[in-house]
């Protein structure tokens, strides 16, 4: 195995360009599971450990190297909430936003927030930069459009409203792979964005439900019921060993409604 640890972003991009099948390595919390469990043996590992540039984080930018432990302190309530649910304290200390994006599991905890926030994922390579909207970046379960020579450097976040809520359904109280997850953002004029994870091939926005929630500043119980109904109708869950499609569909509606209710208080 070839292992390189570039000290600057440019070096890293050069390294990714130089090899056929390079594997970028940040926290290792996804890659090493594949190494340990599935016995994946990467030929080339490009470590991102020394790239401080990837750790930049401000109001409109989260670097790919920012860990979930750091994100637990985010000002964005939904971001702080979702970060607290990722894995375990040990996982959060190592796992990065960039890794969550690169793995692109439909259950990825950061995805509903990024989708609701209409974030852009920024990729860099020796060929230049690509800035992709989240739904251009995630194209299927564990599938993104990242080329092997590209590095996820961070996400660009447009301004977000204060009213935010995240929820994640699982069977136990810790170390939960989500059965359904949801993020709601609602601005003072009532415009609402709702994203759900683990209920489709990748994270999705419930646009029909968003219409109902966005129509007024004050929502009636009837509105909320319709909102819940639409969320349930719009998700595309499957049945697997973790849960059933029927339950996921039901739970998606419930958690979305409750998340919206939290934003209305």
């Amino acid at each position: 195995m070839e292992y390189v640890r570039p000290k600057a972003l440019g070096e890293a991009l050069d390294a990714l360009a130089a090899f056929d099948d390079p594997t970028p390595l940040a926290g290792g919390t996804d890659l090493m599971v594949e190494v340990n469990l599935s016995h994946r043996r990467p030929d080339v590992v490009v470590s991102l450990r020394a790239l401080d540039e990837l750790r930049r984080w401000d109001d409109t930018w989260i670097g790919a190297g920012v860990t979930f432990a750091r994100l637990e302190g985010a000002d964005d309530p939904a971001l702080a909430q979702l970060a607290r649910t990722v894995g375990s304290p040990q996982i959060r200390a190592a796992a990065t936003l960039g890794g969550n994006l690169g793995t692109a599991s439909p259950a990825g905890d950061s995805l509903p927030f990024l989708a609701a926030a209409d974030a852009h994922v920024v990729l860099q390579s020796t060929a230049g930069e690509r800035r992709l909207r989240w739904d251009e970046f995630f194209v299927g379960p564990k599938q993104t459009v990242r080329r092997p020579d590209e590095l996820i450097v961070g996400v660009e976040l447009p301004s977000r409203p204060e009213r935010q809520a995240f929820a994640k359904v699982g069977v136990r109280q810790a170390m939960v792979i989500s059965v359904v997850s949801c993020c709601v953002l609602r601005d003072p004029s009532g415009v609402t964005r709702v994203a759900l994870g683990s209920v489709g091939p990748t994270v999705l926005r419930a646009t029909g439900a968003e219409e109902v929630a966005s129509q007024a500043v004050r929502l009636t119980d009837t509105d909320l019921e319709e909102f819940q109904r639409r969320v349930s109708a719009e998700v595309r869950p499957i049945t697997d060993h973790r849960s059933t499609a029927e339950y996921r569909r039901h739970a998606a509606g419930v958690v979305a409604r409750r998340a919206l209710e939290r934003c209305l208080r």
Binding site: M32, V33, Q90
Partner: protein
């Protein structure tokens, strides 16, 4: 390739093919078998070590990527002649049964108490929520950490 790191205050090195985890290197190359592997996935915390000041699962750290790191394992926290307060409390409170999860718990608990001198019970529990124990039901573990908190 050669990996060089500081383990429990000592300079150590190991030869790795590449895919090996830090856990593997600690146990097989450096003879530090106190850290345990029980799940290969970071789901049980038995492999917890302190790496550059953070508690992480050593099974999820590629050894090559730990080159230059500062690592503390359970062996570095205390010895039978000079136990860390957490180790002392675990023994005294009956928090050790089969003991397989114990090194991971001790490392996580010691790190918690070093960084938060007065954790509330729920903070203790959340800090240890990544460490599985199949024997104790966690009651004595919680009592031990509370006792260690008082002693420190």
């Amino acid at each position: 390739m050669i990996v060089q790191l500081t383990v429990n205050g000592e300079d150590r090195h190991a030869e790795v093919a590449g895919w090996e985890s830090l856990l593997w290197v600690l146990r097989e190359d450096l003879g530090l078998t106190g850290t345990k592997g029980a799940c290969e996935q970071g789901e049980c915390g038995s492999c917890s070590v302190i790496l550059d000041g953070e508690v992480v699962c050593s099974c999820l750290v590629m050894a090559a990527d730990a080159d230059g790191a500062d690592v503390t394992t359970v062996e570095g926290l205390g010895t039978p002649e000079d136990l860390h307060p957490v180790q002392e409390a675990f023994v005294a409170e009956g928090a050790v049964q089969c003991g397989y999860c114990t090194p991971g718990l001790v490392v996580a608990a010691a790190h918690l108490l070093e960084t938060n001198r007065r954790p509330e019970p729920d903070q203790i529990r959340e800090a240890l929520s990544g460490n599985l124990c199949r024997c104790t039901g966690y009651g004595a573990v919680l009592r031990a950490i509370e006792a260690a908190r008082e002693a420190m």
